[in-house]
Amino acid sequence: MNTGLPLNQPKRRISVHHLSYLILILLLLLVPLFFKESNSSLIIISNIAIMAVFAMSYDLLLGYTGIISFGHVMFFGIGAYTVGIFMKKFDYTWLYLFEALITVVIITATLSLLLGALTLRLKAHFFAMLTLAVAELFAVIGNKWRSVTNGADGFSFRVPDIFRDRLIFAYVAIIFMILIFFALRQFTLSPVGRILQGIRENEERMEALGYHILSYKIISFIVAGFIAGLAGMMYGIGTRFVSVPSVLGVDLTLDALLITIVGGVGTLIGAILGAGIIEVVSQMLQSFAKTYPIFERWLLFFGLAYILIVLFFPYGIVGTMRMVWEKRRYRRRGSKS
């Protein structure tokens, strides 16, 4: 899975990069304006942005560090539930929103540090299994601890009024996504990020070079958990409703996995692209369900597509495109010399 950038990049390309990012951001910021009449479209747009953040945090584990966690949803759920509980039990003000943010940071960081320190030593299979179990444990606790979570029925709550405007919230979500994208991009390009990619490529070699693998994996796990918690918070603010199936169900982990795989592991842009595709296609399939009942099982089609992609396009859309691109560049360079 070598998706790393070439070491000696000419300077010109970087500025082209910057320009294309700028254009991309402007385009993204224009999108909600086209849909400002339709509340349901704005909700979809906000969802895409939030799921993109969730998937990017997942990609940091899967694509950049080579860790498979099947329990990523627990961080998302913690974020969503914390907002819900703070808004419901205290008051729907900015102050409590800020306190909820601090709480989410503390809980997700502590949880991922503890869990990571105890379990990241395990082999991939066991780690995947264990995280699945821990996430299930969270779902069980969420279901049973009804006085706080109200179980599968969930509860609705109010948020500061400004977020009730769908257009504003769509902008908040998109800006949130862009900020997280650049933060994570910086992180993956930083020395720590490079070491993580080294671990993904060859753990033994990195250890032989003197890096303490476990600590770096824990760092990756903490950052990913913390960002997933933020995504959960945004989700809570956007829907103003939390329940165990909607924010702690295994299917959310699967969504993140699907988005990452479809978009391309090890590429942050892929997560954004994948989130858009998955969200739009699932809406389309669900609308077909009225005429063709088989489409009620839209997850079935996603599952099949997912298997095919893992088998035949393990690098996803962005990864495959990048490979074709690189190949062409090398060929051109080869013919010149």
Binding site: I68, T119, F126, M129, L130, L137, K144, R297
Partner: protein
């Protein structure tokens, strides 16, 4: 005392049911280092097809056979089409088997229904009898006996036959037995189908035990099977059997006292074992990466 014996038979029955599911999981992992995240899907398919055949033919035994065959057939398709291309690539294996799990679960909802389905016990196994003051439910005893027969058979095949010798040697050192001229791919396929068939069997047996089957049973029992293989250690049938009995009994006793937390206790046991003794109580395979 009566209560204790009742709970114990309950626990043993649950334990044996999980053992049937976990044995395949454990053997497959022991031999091929593939942790099959779709094992619960095979189990659920066994349950649905088996129950359907049983309801339509009226014969529970035919239903059992159908469940086993369903498991084996799905196992064959899965091994050939999906697992084989990704042998050796752990990340892809884990990702793809989870994908199969989703597809199998959704297919059940599409083919049968997303609603729970009743699965009564056949007349010759329903009801109970009294011995002294203690009431034994016939079906539970049936599960316990079936489980022990399978346990003994598996252990016999693994320790006393040539095939078992190859499988055990494969668990220990794949490269060596390949060098000795054994076609390891055939052995892989055999073990995978065996495990899948056992999962199917376990699924059919679950129906009358729980009285109702839902598409969610796959994931639910898969988690229990994971707990069992983690405690028992991968690749050991006796270890899996013992730990299945431990988990089943612990479940029965705890669920009687505190029904709310029995699942949580299972998870906590598994987490604790993975952290303290990752190779399991009886296993030899290391779970740490070094």
């Amino acid at each position: 005392m009566e209560l204790f014996i009742t709970l114990t038979t309950n626990g043993l029955a649950t334990g044996m049911l999980i053992f049937l599911l976990a044995a395949g999981l454990s053997l497959i992992f022991g031999l091929m280092s593939v942790l099959n995240f779709a094992h619960g899907g095979l189990f659920a398919w066994g349950a649905y097809v088996g129950t359907w055949v049983y309801m339509n033919t009226g014969s529970f035994l035919v239903g059992i056979v159908a469940g086993i065959l369903t498991g084996m057939l799905l196992g064959l398709i899965m091994e050939r089409l999906i697992i084989q291309p990704v042998y050796g690539n752990h990340i892809q294996q884990i990702l793809i088997t989870l994908g199969v799990m989703i597809v199998l679960g959704e297919l059940i909802k599409a083919v049968f229904s997303a609603n729970p389905q009743g699965a009564p016990a056949p007349s010759w196994l329903s009801g109970s009898f009294e011995a002294g003051n203690i009431i034994f439910v016939k079906y539970r005893l049936f599960i316990i006996i079936t489980g022990f027969i399978v346990l003994i058979l598996l252990q016999y095949v693994l320790t006393k036959t040539k095939l078992g010798l190859i499988v055990r040697a494969g668990v220990m050192n794949k490269e060596m037995i390949q060098a000795l001229g054994v076609n390891i791919k055939k052995v892989f396929l055999f073990v995978f189908m065996l495990g899948a068939g056992l999962a199917g069997l376990s699924g059919v047996l679950l129906g009358p035990y729980a009285n109702v089957i839902t598409p969610g049973i796959g994931m639910e029992y898969q988690m229990l099977a994971f707990v069992v293989v983690v405690i028992g250690g991968m690749g050991s049938i006796i270890g899996t059997g013992l730990s299945a009995i431990i988990v089943g009994l612990a479940n029965a006793y705890i669920a009687y006292q505190w029904p709310q937390i029995s699942m949580a206790v299972n998870m906590l046991i598994m987490i604790a074992i993975l952290i303290i003794r990752p190779q399991g109580l009886f296993g030899a395979k290391e779970a740490h990466s070094r």
